[in-house]
Structures are given as structure tokens and as C-alpha cells.
């Protein structure tokens, strides 16, 4: 047992005790450590100005490589940084500017400068990934190519840059100068931050700490991180007003906006088995509570490409590096991006409580707007769902005002199994919509219209009528009710037109 959080900032060891552990990392960096390069703008993880790089030593227990990845420090508690090495913008340059910084200067990638630290950090994250995933052979051949070609910057392409910078907003440059800067970074000049900020001794120090649970108990702040499910469950039994903080990407926002109090919290990050992502029964995945969306995306890339594609436009890289599938489920938003998919894949939620584990079907999990069947002192340990078979037809759609890093206005999932593909006879279809009512919805009545039927235009028109009757979207800031009806129908028709 220890009473402190252990992490490194720019190579400097920090043991954080007491209420400081309950601060947001950005506040801690700026107002306690005086590292004011990290900026706070939106306090909700939507602008990226607060980005810092984090290498989570826990990752090494799951995979062979761990990377410095960008995260949003404004919605991340210091307590969640336990076992990590953090690099802020102040840590990027050595004697000279880093190649990323140099490129941003040379290509005028900065104007007012307020978003710049976030961009420098996120781009460095991309560089870290690039130089470490390149095998040695590739590196050698690329170096050789470099000599032969005039252009020595082919290694980072525009698409990669855009995908990695989705979570960083800039209001001055129009992004083009930043894109030019990023695609011109000379990777051969880049060396990994690990050489400075994840040295063997730092690594060992961090890893060693991860076997010890943490308990901080003060009058106005308490924090517990146990190393087993039982310890966590026992603690929750005794401390009923404690909030479970997963990645905290939702709770952090609520706390910043004074909607909840994060003064008594428990973290599950030290429980090894919750980091597990496993194939079970041959055709299902079980995803532990601590598995990040980024890890999930990698895992389903081959088996469920449609889901991986959806996760591409889910939130930002910074969020996906910490946020979890379980978090998206527990948040219980009617427009949670993964929920329609989980609704059509027979998902089951594993809930740990005082009496052990109970399993709940996702359809039964959501009771009302933001209300779930989760009781006090319970937490979700894992979710399992089907891997749709090759002969099944899966489609996922998401609509939002802005395509990337935007909360859905409406989303939907379709999964169809043919009885006889040649005659277009359907065995059954599963349809789920989000953003059409207080909870994400399975459209059972509409589904039934298709069961055992041959797919025709007439059947489709009948089903569309039923679909409109089954949904009851509201008008809000993301779109009007009528707009959502049109979208619901268009996605329906879009999907069906691919089958007809």
C-alpha cells in the first residue's frame, strides 16, 4: 500500500500526495509546477490545447511496446497518471528545437500561439509512433531512399497528420501551414523521447509501483486504487459515496463544469485483468473495463472493420488514448457512438457487486435518459459482444454537424443474416438507433417486419413507416426532430439499397 501517486514529468520524479492527486493534470502542471506552456481552453477535451504526452507503464504488461501518446490534461486527474511518464511542451526541446518544433517555425504553423503547444505535443506523438513502428529494415531502406530522392519528407503523409490532429483546434492558421509543417518533418532527425523520459531506471521505478495499491484518505479528498477486483468491490461497499473513475473523460468534464464533485474516487487502473481484451467462445470479444478505445480499434481492425471505421471518427486521438468502451456504455448517453453497434451484437455487460458478478443484456441495461440498472457499489468489469460472421451484413452510420470529433446527432447500426441470399430471403435483422429517444433503441417492431421475408421495395416501404413510428427523436442543439427523422430514413434506405 502507498499513499501517493507516482509519475514523471519531463523526466522529473513526482510523488503526489493528498488533495493534489485530485487536481486536473493541466491545473497541476500550470499552477503547481509552473509549467504554463500547457494551455486550458475548453476544459472538455474538445480543443487539444492542453495536450501532453503520456507513456503508461501499465501498457508494458499488455504488449511489448509502450508509446508516448497524447492525452487531454485538462480532463485527466493527476491520480490517473499513476505509473506514467508525462512530457509537456517544455520537455520537447533539448539544446535545440526538436524537428517537430523546427518545422512548425519554418512553415509558419503558429500565429497567436495558444494552440501551438498542443499541436507540437500531438505531432510529437505521431512522430513517436512513426519512428518506433518502423522496423529497422524499413528505416535503413528509407535512409537509403533519402539519399536518392530530393524529397526527404515522404514519411509522414497528409492523411496521417489529419487523423492524428483531429483533436486539436486552431482558429488562426486554417491548418494548412500546420499540415505543411507536419508533412515536412524529417523523421531521420527524430529520436524517441523514451531515451530521455522512459529510461530503464524510470521504467523500473514506475513498473514496480504498479504492484502496490494506493490509498489516500483526507477529510475532503479520498482516493483508492486496489490491485484486485475484490479489493475494489470491498472498498466500494464501505465507501458508498465514492465515484468510480475509469478514464474520466466524461467525469472530468462534468467536474470542470461544476456538475459533479470528484472528491471521493476509486480507480481500477491497477487491476490487471480489467486491461484484458479477449476472444471468447470463438466468436465473441470480451473487453475489460480498462481497455482503451484505441486498443479496441486495433483489436477489431481485421475482424470487425465496420466497427474500427466507426471508432476512427469517434472523438479525438487524445480521448481514444484513455477513454474506454465500458465508459461509453456506462455514460448512458442516448447518442453514445458505440451503443447502436453493441445493441445489434448481443452485448452482455458484466457487473461486479457485493454479491459477485451479474450479467445484464445491454437492451435491459438502459432504463431511461442517462439511467442504467447499475446500483450503488457496483461497477462494470467487462462487456462482451458478437463478432459478426462473414456471411452477415453489418453497417454502422454516424451523423454529426461536423464529421470529425463531434457528438452524434443520430447514429445507427444494421446487422442482417440471410436465410437464402440468392432469393433475398432474410433470416432476421437487428436494427438500433441512437439519438431517437431517451435511450439508445433497438427497433424490434421494424425488425420483425423483415423476419423470414423476402426483401422487396414494398417490404422496405412498410418497414420505413414502422421505423418512423418506433422512434421519437427530440429537437436539440445537435439537430431538430424532423432532421433526425429524415436522417433515420436516409440511413435505412442507404443500407437497404446496398442489399436490394
Amino acid at each position: 500500500m502507498r499513499d501517493y501517486i507516482l509519475f514523471y514529468i519531463n523526466g522529473e520524479r513526482h510523488e503526489v500526495r493528498g488533495k493534489f492527486a485530485g487536481m486536473m493534470l493541466a491545473d497541476y502542471l500550470r499552477y503547481v509546477r509552473g509549467l504554463t506552456g500547457t494551455k486550458i481552453v475548453c476544459s472538455e477535451g474538445d480543443c487539444g490545447a492542453c495536450s501532453v504526452l503520456r507513456l503508461n507503464s501499465m501498457d508494458l504488461q499488455k504488449k511489448t511496446k509502450a508509446f508516448f501518446e497524447p492525452i487531454n490534461s485538462c480532463i485527466t486527474l493527476v491520480a490517473k497518471m499513476d505509473g506514467s511518464s508525462i512530457v509537456t511542451v517544455e520537455g520537447l526541446a533539448e539544446e535545440n528545437l526538436s524537428p517537430v518544433q523546427k518545422s512548425l517555425v519554418t512553415f509558419n504553423g503558429t500565429q497567436c500561439g495558444f494552440c501551438t503547444p498542443g499541436f507540437a505535443i500531438t505531432l510529437t506523438g505521431l512522430v513517436e509512433k512513426k519512428i518506433q513502428t518502423c522496423t529497422r529494415n524499413e528505416k535503413v531502406s528509407k535512409l537509403a531512399n533519402k539519399k536518392n530522392s530530393e524529397k526527404n519528407n515522404e514519411e509522414i503523409n497528409e492523411k496521417e497528420v489529419k487523423n492524428s490532429l483531429t483533436g486539436n483546434l486552431c482558429r488562426c492558421t486554417g491548418y494548412q501551414p500546420i499540415l505543411n509543417a507536419a508533412t515536412s518533418i524529417d523523421l531521420t532527425q527524430c529520436s524517441s523521447l523514451k531515451n530521455r523520459y522512459f529510461t530503464p531506471s524510470q521504467k523500473q521505478d514506475l513498473l514496480k509501483s504498479q504492484n502496490k495499491s494506493i490509498q489516500i484518505s483526507e477529510k475532503h479528498f479520498s482516493y483508492f486504487a486496489g490491485t484486485s477486483i475484490k479489493a475494489a468491490s470491498d472498498y466500494l461497499m464501505k465507501h458508498k459515496n465514492t465515484k468510480i473513475i475509469g478514464a474520466g473523460t466524461d467525469l472530468g468534464v462534468l467536474s470542470n463544469k461544476n456538475k459533479i464533485d470528484l472528491t471521493h474516487i476509486i480507480s481500477l487502473h491497477l487491476i490487471y485483468e480489467l486491461h484484458e481484451l479477449k476472444k471468447i467462445q470463438g466468436n465473441r470479444f470480451r473487453v475489460g473495463a480498462s481497455v482503451t478505445l484505441n486498443e479496441l480499434r486495433h483489436a477489431v481492425l481485421e475482424t470487425i472493420p465496420e466497427f474500427a471505421q466507426l471508432l476512427n471518427i469517434f472523438a479525438s486521438p487524445q480521448i481514444k488514448n484513455v477513454a474506454t468502451l465500458v465508459g461509453n456504455v456506462a455514460n448512458a448517453s442516448p447518442i453514445g457512438d458505440t451503443l447502436p453497434f453493441l445493441l445489434v451484437t448481443n452485448s452482455v455487460i458484466h457487473i461486479v457487486g457485493p454479491k459477485g458478478i451479474r450479467k445484464v443484456k445491454i437492451e435491459e441495461f438502459y432504463l431511461d435518459y442517462k439511467k442504467t440498472s447499475l446500483k450503488k457499489a457496483e461497477f462494470i468489469s467487462a462487456i462482451e459482444f458478437d463478432i459478426p460472421k462473414k456471411d452477415e451484413n453489418l453497417a454502422l452510420y454516424k451523423n454529426s454537424q461536423r464529421k470529425d470529433l463531434d457528438i452524434s446527432c443520430l447514429n445507427s447500426a444494421f446487422r442482417l443474416k440471410w436465410k437464402n441470399e440468392n432469393t433475398r430471403q432474410i433470416q432476421h435483422i437487428q436494427i438500433a438507433y441512437g439519438g431517437v429517444g431517451p435511450v439508445p433503441l433497438r427497433l424490434y417492431k421494424t425488425e420483425n417486419i423483415f423476419t423470414d421475408q423476402i426483401l422487396t421495395e414494398t417490404l422496405l416501404e412498410k418497414a420505413i413507416k414502422e421505423m418512423h413510428a418506433e422512434i421519437s427523436p427530440q429537437s436539440d442543439v445537435r439537430g431538430s426532430s424532423s432532421y433526425r427523422h429524415i436522417l433515420a430514413e436516409n440511413y435505412f434506405r442507404k443500407y437497404m439499397s446496398s442489399l436490394l
Binding site: 472538455e44 528545437l97 519554418t106 509558419n108 495558444f114 501551438t116 503547444p117 483546434l169 486554417g174 442507404k494
Partner: protein, 753 residues
Amino acid sequence: MKIFHDSSLSHVTGSSEYVDDRPFLQGELQVGVLYSPWARAKIKKIDMQEALKIPGVVGIFTAKDFHHNVWGSIFQDQPLIADQEVNFVGEVVAVIAAENKTALTKAKDTISVKYEKLTAVLSLEEARRKKNYIGPERKIERGCIDSVFSQNQTQNQYQILEDQLTIQGADHFYLENQVAVAYPKEMDQIEVHSSSQHPTEVQHVVAHSLGLNSKDVVCIVKRMGGAFGGKESQAAPFAAYAALVAHKLKRSARLVLSKDDDMIITGKRNPFQNHYRVAFDSTGKIQGLDVQMFSDGGAFADLSTSIMERAMLHLDNAYFIPHIRIRGQVCRTNFHPHTAFRGFGAPKGVATIEQIIEKIALILNKDALEIRKLNCYTSKEGRDKTPYEQKVENNCLPELFEKLEKKCDYWNRRKKITQHNQSLFKNPFKKNLNSQLYGLSLTPVKFGIAFTTQFLNQGNALVHVHRDGSVQCSTGATEMGQGVNTKIAQLISEELGVPHHHIRIMPTSTDKNANTSPTAASSGTDLNGMAAVLAARKIKQRLNELASQLSLENSSKEIKFSDLVNEAYLKRISLSDYAHYQVPGLNFNKITGEGSAFSYFTQGVAASEVCIDIATGQVKVLQVDILMDLGRPLNKEIDWGQISGAFVQGMGWVTTENLFYSSEGKLLSHSPSTYKIPNIQDTPRIFNIDFFENNENTLNIRGSKAVGEPPLLLALSVWTAIQDALKRSISLPASSELILKTLVKNWGSSYEF
């Protein structure tokens, strides 16, 4: 040689200092504001007794605590803290000072304010019905517009089109929220660090509100983390709140707004509703145009009347209209007081004429580009004067059209797009859900450079040459990322022959440069750069005299600058100077609507191609080609960034940026999770920016042209390209919801909504 932004090194290392990066002084207090949840209400009672008992709460201040509780850039009509009545959601009713943020938050929840709700005016229509106006109606008129329409009734020469255009506001979304730190100094002096485009106004508002003289207040602006007009007037009240706390409690005081509070409290780009009647002939030539513009000023005047003037002065954009009448009236509603935003009123004027042209093209079944070229100002006598009778000098518009049209291969792309879209329109809507519609549009901008308020067209600068030959300069210009400091350093460097890295532009401070104008209207470099050059020139003249004297004395031909400077010092010759610059030749009369309003015009054209997803209405911008006339650019790299940045900012305004208010007048989209500015994925797939060679702008410093605002208006080409794809007009912004509904409505489908 490329010269980079003078802060770029500190930006990328995170060492650039913004207001909230200043170290906390001992005893420094956090300042917060409590604001009205109602659009209009009587304040019956404010009870702060319980809140004052919260540990850490040090003081709570209300309207009565200001010596003068009123401010306003044009009209002094706005209370700093609401007194007796609130007039918009977000209007500050109390200022709280506390030792820490927790106490601040608790105090906000504990102070009890009793309101009595009053009927609020929450639409432009209602304000007009009630004749809730701010300022007088303005008018610009030329020719005889009434007779164009009345004659046409008998002669039927022209087609007449009558319609209206609704334009929504937009949030500035500067990354650095409103912020100020105030330090109490001896003998009641105040030093305030503000993120403001207008330090002089901050100084004046702080002094006036606290009952001090201007001599007792210094406002310092090192830099802003973005502003875009949002910190021209509206930085001042926040500085005043921090100063109030510092003044009353004699402790340093810091106010940092959250993004949510910032968006709820501060004003936006003014929404407009423009009604028009236009007469045009069968070729598309516009004969007469009668426009009545109404803008939503919000609850208080702020800069809205000036914004309206600029809107009216830009209604013509690039087009000569023989008979024209433009009337403009600002209306008072119960929304946050709307304010300056890049382009000021101009985008709203230009959007109107560009939509009129789109409509004419649709009616005549012609390409809108042809209509644009047909109506464009030419150098021909009789077609070269604006409605306010200023001659369009140095008019490159026809040439810009011609060059870009060729360069972007407009007509071939047009052909392809027409074929593609026509093939889709043949099918029913629901059969096209996997397809996209394409649209292409090429629009111009002619942006007048000068403040329309004449007295603002002045600048001053102070230059010190130090004994080692390095130079410090300070001006009234404020740095918000636009690179004004870099450009001024370049200008001094050229004037003195000193390398630019030997020159440092110092923080803007009202004790060094007084009575300055806001850094606005794209004029920062024009005004302050010129003043800096004039000041440097005075020093140079003295050094020149000394140099010739020295070369006479010891026949040596060369002397190092630093040696010369040192020699001057020893000879007791002044190495510092100050200069003032007044822009010549402006004589616009706001009341008659006539005269030279601008010293020159920055011009440009852009061609945008968009693609619309038929199932969702989502827009992608595929290609943008821009050709910009910036005279002889002072710094091409910096100007390039201004163009790309302004364009993408404009794209947000015309597409995804939606301000969504509740029926009670509260802004609901008050953070980036609901208010969507363009993201890196939204940038044009192909983005070409070129400069038009123009060496003829002799009017401005070094033949350059101002760049800050004009390219924003080119983003209207994205909006008109959407209309081109839809073959329908659409209001602004063209959100995907609006686009989808327009498609559904006009494509004969079974949808009901």
C-alpha cells in the same frame, strides 16, 4: 529571405507568456462573475450575506461599487454590472473575489439574486415591430432607385426580384478566453494586463469606472491568444472587474473566464436580415438595387452602428450598380451585445449581393460567374464609382477574375459538374442516397481599408536605439498572432538598415503609446508600421548627419552602425524618437453617405468546389483556389497564413458554426462540444493560394495592402458553391440540416417533416 513570426520560437516551446501565465503574486485573488440567467428581468434583491461567510470569499461587488458604472465604445450605454435590470443572459450582476476557485464556485452557488422576469425581445422581427432601435437609420443612395422600379411598371424593361436573406451570427472562438490581471500600485494606481485589441480603451474604462484619472492606470498587452474582433471592445469590462477588486481590496486580482462563460457572456458577429429588391436586364446586368438591412445589435450598442456602416459600404462588393439605395438600422434585442468580428459588417453586405447574383443566375439560367464579370467595376468612366461616390482606384478585379478563372480551369470543371448533377437530378431523391452533388463558385472581394470612423485612422510609435545598436520599438498595435510585430520590425529594419533580429517590438503599453486606436480594421501594420518608420526615420536623419560629419573628419568610408550609435550617444544626440501618423485623404460623411471612406481597396477572388452528401447534407470542400491582391506583400509567409486562416474561419461561419439559443434567449451551444469551428479534417482537400502582382498601390506603406479581414469574405464562395450544387438559395450558415431539408423539399419526395 524568409522572416518568421517573431514569437514562433517561444510559441513552439511553450514559453510565450499570456496573461494567465503570469506567476501568481502573494495574496493574489481569483475573480469570478455571477451573471443573469434571464434575458430580461428586474433585479429585486441580491443577497450575499451567506456567500460572504464562505471561507476564502474575500469580497462581493455589485453595480454600486463602481464609481461610474457605465461604458461603451460608441455610445456610453452599457452598465459594467447590471443595476436594477438585466438585459441579456450572461449580463454580469456581481463580481466575486476569493482566495481560490473552490470558494469562488461556492460563492456563485450561494449568492441569491431575486429576479422578476420581464418580457424580452428575442428576435430581430420583434425588435423591428417594436421599433427597438439603436442609433439612427443610415442611408447611402445614388441615382434614382424609385424611378427604376416605377418606370419598369409601364415599360417592363427589367426583371424584378424581391427577397430577403437571413444571416446568423458566429462566435469568435479565440482560444484564449477573456482574461485580465490587475495589480494595485501605490497612490491608487492600477496596472492591468489584459488580452485586449484596444489597450487605450481598457485604460479609459478602468480609470473612468474607478473614478481615477487616465494617468493612474496603465494597461499592458503583451499578446493575445487570438481575438478576431472579440477583444476590440469586449475585453474592457473584464479588465474593469479585475481592477475593481484590486482597487477595493488592494490585492492583485486575476479574472480568467471559462470557455462556457465566455461564450455565454460575450457578443457575437451581428445577425442580419436584409430585404432587397433588384432590377436586372436579360443579360443579368443590375440596373437598380434597393436594400434595407437590419442587424441584431443585442442589448447594448457596442460597435454595432459602425458595423452596420461597414456592411452598407460593402453591399456593392465588386459590382457597379447605377441606381442604388442602401438603408441600415441596428435593432435592440435581449441577446448579448454583438460586436466586431473579422470583416466587421462587410461579410453581411457582401453575402447579400453575392446571393442576389446567384439568384439572378438561376432565374436567367446562366452561370453566376458570367453575371459577376458582367457587373464588375471597370476602369471605364461611369462604371468605376462606388455608391458613396468614391472612385475605385487601382482596380484589378477584372484581371483577377480572368486569371483565376483560367488558373483553376473553371469552365472544364463546370462542364463536368453540370453533367454529373444533371444525371442525378433525373432520378428520384431516394435513389441517390449513395451519391454526392457538386457545386462550384468563384466570388470576388473588394474590401475597403480604413476605419470608417475617421478619427481612428491615426497611429503612433516610439523607437529607442540602444548603444549596442539594437532597437526597441513600441506602438499602439497589439499582437494577436497576425504578425504585426514581425512586420513592424521588418519595416524598421529596412528603414535603419539593421538586421530584423536586432529589433524587438515591446509589449503594447498605454504609458508608452497613448490615445491609440484599436488593432482592428486590418489596419495594425498600416497605421503603426508607418508611425514606426517615421520615428525611425527621425533617428536615422540625425545619425546620417553625424555620419557625414564623421566621414568628413576622418575620411573613413564605413562605420559600423553600433559604433555610429555609440558616437551619437557620446555627442549627446538623441537616439530615441516618437512619431505620429495620420492617414491622409479620408472624407466620408456618415450622414450624407458620401465621400472617400477608404484609403484603398484590398481585392481578391476565390473559386471553391464543394461536394454534398445527399443522404446527410454534409459538405466537403474539395478545392479552393485563391488569388489575392496585397500590393507588394510585406511578408508573404505571414500574409499566406492570414489568407488561409481567414478563409477557413469564414468557412466555419458559412457552414458548421451554429449558434443555438433556447426559447428564453440563452445560448446553448457554448463550448466546442456543441459549437463546431472547422477542424483539420474540414480544410479544403486542395488549397492553392497565390498573390497577384500589383506594384501600384502607392498609397500605403511600402506599397503593401492590409490582409487581416478581406480573405474571410472569400469563404462566401463555399456558401455560393453549395447553392450552386443545390440550384437553390439557402440562408447563412448552410448547415447540413438546412442543406438536407432544402434537398428533400425541392426534390419531390415523400418525406414529411
